[in-house]
């Protein structure tokens, strides 16, 4: 473990203040990182992590404070300038050309030339040398589009190394990775740190921060609430620093008592590009049961839920709810038959961002809130108020547009609306994605209460901890098929991780 050494700092942000209208995004934040150190930056949504990193990366200017690199004060006016000075960032979404090779992607924008022409041989040699030196599992000539997500991320890192970045910022880099890919990434990052690179690891995942980093800085409401050596802290302390209170972490709920089969899907098949997006998937969910669907994003989970919900046509297979065949019905009829749905995309699918909160909550209830064909504004308001109160949605009032709510509050509103349908089957996708730790506990408790009230839940989540916490039974999807079915006890991180990578049958 490397401790902060005052005499050698790769990065020193001092007294950074950044104001946005009505918000103090960064309030005299200090962040110092030594060369060769892996430093984790933690915080909930809106805590100021992204603002701080965008200041370091030259995307925005601090109102007060200084930035020092290797002891020299710098000011960036663009990301290009930052990268010239040795600061590089891997964003959450990759910026790669899928039809080009690894080499082409890496040298893009800084290609070696000979007599004004591209020097492909030197490009390839330079990239091969970097891959060799850092022990990456990449081949310079592979086409990026053919590579798995975890490997594409290494291409992004390679791009920064090629531009001689000494400080690497990684923003939530494990969000798209399998557990095995995450381990692989951590090995690479440790190697880079040992080579003298400085790593800034932005994350909200406690176990990853504890496993990887040397030191941690935690932000809350724009201020630093904890700065410590990782060895001196633990999960509870980090969570408390992030939320400002004690949080019950990773509670694993006991299994429920399943009743009769409520949702049954048999042989679901949906065509994709080339191979099927959904390939002969069958599953059953009982009343009072949560069936979890695990898997790396893009292995058919989205299509599975869309096919059951009626948002995507089935090419083959049947779906029944309470014995009624709904596989060919319209969405409205499926909902009437007993489906509710908390979608993965809450911005465009789950809500209307420009519409009022109250109208968002009334959507789907418009026929029930009417009497003799007339809507009654009073009842619509009451309906919205009940959901807002019961699910703790924080908003100025129900007339504000949905987009003014934070992600967590939007999710609570959608959750509240769908649970209020009291439908026998709830399809729920990524219920806590982008939601703060404090709210996660709340949402999990609501879902378990809903289960215990005798409803059937099909839960799709990319967070293994969420699957483990909630699911009574786990299906693992890989390349459009269900490759494993595990009981709650069998569903360990190791077993899930193996199956998610296609390693089980």
């Amino acid at each position: 473990m490397t401790q902060q050494q005052p005499e050698s700092r790769a990065v020193a942000l001092r007294g950074i203040v950044k104001r946005f209208p009505g918000v103090l995004a960064n309030d005299h934040v200090d962040l110092t990182v030594a060369p060769g150190e892996i430093h984790a930056l933690m915080g909930e949504n809106g805590a100021g992590k992204s603002t701080l990193m965008s200041i370091l990366y030259g995307l925005s200017h601090p109102d007060e404070g200084t930035i020092e690199l290797d002891g020299r004060s710098v000011t960036f006016s663009s990301a290009a300038q930052a990268i010239d000075t040795g600061v590089g960032m891997v964003q959450q979404g990759f910026a790669l050309f899928n039809s080009l090779t690894v080499t082409d992607n890496v040298v893009f924008g800084a290609e070696p030339t000979r007599f004004g022409l591209l020097d492909r041989r030197r490009s390839r040699a330079a990239v091969a040398e970097l891959i060799e030196r850092h022990g990456l599992r990449l081949r310079p000539g592979d086409k990026v589009g053919d590579l798995p997500v975890g490997v594409r991320q290494q291409v992004e890192i390679l791009k920064l190394l090629y531009r001689r970045a000494r400080v690497l910022i990684l923003d939530e880099p494990t969000a798209v990775l399998t557990p095995a890919e995450t381990d692989r990434l951590f090995d690479v990052l440790r190697g880079l740190a040992a080579d003298g690179h400085t790593i800034l690891f932005v994350s909200h995942k406690l176990h990853e921060v504890l496993a990887l980093s040397d030191n941690v800085t935690v932000l809350r409401d724009g201020r630093v609430t904890l700065r410590t050596a990782t060895a001196d802290t633990d999960r509870a302390a980090l969570a408390a620093a992030m939320t400002g209170r004690d949080v019950e972490l990773d509670k694993i709920y006991p299994t429920g008592s399943p009743g009769d089969i409520v949702l049954s899907a048999q042989g679901l098949t949906v065509a994709g590009h080339g191979k099927p997006a959904l390939d002969d998937v069958s599953l059953e969910v009982r009343a009072g049961e949560v069936v979890g669907v695990a898997g790396v994003a893009g292995n058919g989970q989205t299509e599975l839920v869309a096919a059951i919900a009626g948002l995507r046509a089935l090419d083959a297979g049947t779906v029944t709810v309470l014995g009624k065949d709904i596989g060919r019905l319209a969405v409205r009829e499926r909902r009437a038959a007993g489906l509710a749905h908390i979608p993965e995309d809450r911005v465009e699918t789950g809500s209307a961002q420009g519409a009022k909160l109250g109208d968002n909550l009334a959507t789907g209830f418009q026929r029930r809130l009417a009497r003799r064909g007339w809507l009654r504004p009073g009842r619509i308001r009451d309906h919205a108020r009940e959901i807002v109160e019961k699910f703790g949605v924080r908003a100025a009032n129900q007339d504000v547009p949905m987009r003014t709510l934070s992600g967590g509050n939007q999710q609570k509103a959608i959750l509240g609306r769908e649970l209020t349908h009291d439908a026998p089957v709830l399809l729920v996708e990524q219920p806590t994605r982008g939601v703060d730790i404090g709210a996660v506990v709340n949402i999990h408790r609501q879902l378990i209460e809903y289960r215990d009230a005798g409803h059937a839940l099909l839960l799709v989540s990319a967070e293994l901890s969420e699957i483990r916490a909630l699911a009574d039974r786990v299906l693992v999807m890989y390349e459009g098929r269900v490759v494993a079915e595990l009981t709650k006890d069998e569903a360990t991180y190791t077993a899930l991780g193996l199956a998610m990578a296609g390693g089980a049958s």
């Binding site: 319209a330 465009e348 789950g350 009334a362 959507t363 418009q366 809507l375």
Partner: protein, 326 residues
């Protein structure tokens, strides 16, 4: 509201500069517009012009509320008018009046439904089907008044005059009919599940699909209402002076396009559409007065209107929506 007022002032200021640059007195010109639109002589003209503009604006606002654009208003308007005339020439008495109106509504509704079905069944975008189906409708009416329905006593492409008891000799009946439709639209929009579902669809097509709204059925219904109202406007205009169908008479005054503009500016909000349509109608009718009373050339009235419209469009959110889509 404040933004709109400021924009209006800015547009008027820019217009004043343009007017002054051509040697006209801006104050006089503006005064001519106002008295032309609302003065004792002009008010009747303004109302007569506002009725079809408000009607068409509301007709086009109905599908626009769900994010669907009906570009075929002209065709539906003309078919409504020619159908009303055809029926009115053959069914006598007060019954004829009602039958003519009903015929206008049905013709417009059916024709717009064809465009809707082309989208829902065949996947041809509504923008394309409505616009392209508009031309054959106008040509068909032009053919009818040149051959089978031609007024034998005239060399113009126009129909016979309606009998004396199948006429709107005053403005009032048409005005009340269109006003009633606007009220119905406002009430349905705000107070019925169907109106709510239309708004939900306008907020976001994916949200609407997720919430279980049957878009194809809604498309056909909204287009039928839209076309039906356009047909009604055609019938109302045809039943009024000069009590006959004259080829081109419904196209030249630009009822449809001014109406579409009003509906777009108001984001299809019922009351907003009404206000915008009346405003544009007054501006146009006042513009004619300005042309008569001052030395300002015809082209400059059009420029002045364009400046006002563009400024208003910029202020009322067409651009604002683009800027923060998230």
């Amino acid at each position: 509201m404040k933004t709109v007022a400021v924009t209006l002032l800015a547009a008027l200021a820019l217009g004043a500069i343009l007017l002054a640059a051509t040697g006209a007195n801006p104050l006089e010109a503006y005064q001519a517009i106002v008295t032309g639109a609302f003065g004792p002589d002009g008010f009747q003209d303004t109302l007569a012009y506002a009725v079809p503009v408000v009607g068409m604006a509301t007709a086009l606002a109905i599908p626009l509320r769900a994010g669907m654009v009906n570009l075929g208003g002209e065709g539906q308007l003309v078919l409504g008018a020619i159908s009303a005339i055809a029926v009115g020439l053959h069914v006598p008495g007060p019954l004829g009046l009602v039958a003519a109106l009903v015929a206008g509504v049905l013709a417009g509704a059916l024709y717009a439904s064809i465009a809707a079905v082309c989208e829902t069944r065949l996947g041809v975008p509504l923008l394309v089907t409505t616009l392209l189906l508009s031309y054959p409708a106008m040509s068909f009416a032009a053919y009818l008044v040149r051959f089978p329905m031609r007024d034998e006593g005239s060399s113009l492409p126009q129909s016979d005059q309606l009998p004396a008891d199948v006429r709107f000799t005053e403005l009032a009946p048409g005005l009340f009919l269109i006003a009633a439709v606007v009220v119905v639209y406002a009430v349905v929009d705000a107070r019925t599940p169907a109106g709510f579902e239309t708004r939900v669809t306008g907020w976001g097509p994916r949200f609407a699909q997720y919430a279980g709204i049957d878009r194809p059925a809604l498309t056909v219904r909204l287009l039928a209402c839209s076309g039906g109202l356009a047909g009604l406007v055609g019938a109302v205009v045809a039943l009024g002076f000069p009590y006959r169908f004259i080829d081109g008479a419904l196209i030249t005054p630009q009822y449809t396009w001014i109406g579409l503009l009003a509906a777009l500016l108001a984001a299809a909000n019922p009351l907003g559409t009404l206000v915008a349509a009346v405003f544009f109608a007054a501006l146009t009718s006042g513009g004619f007065a300005m042309e008569r009373e001052t030395q300002v050339p015809r082209e400059l009235t059009a420029v002045l209107q364009a400046v006002l419209i563009i400024f208003l469009a910029a202020a009322t959110g067409l651009l604002r929506k683009r800027r923060n889509p998230a």
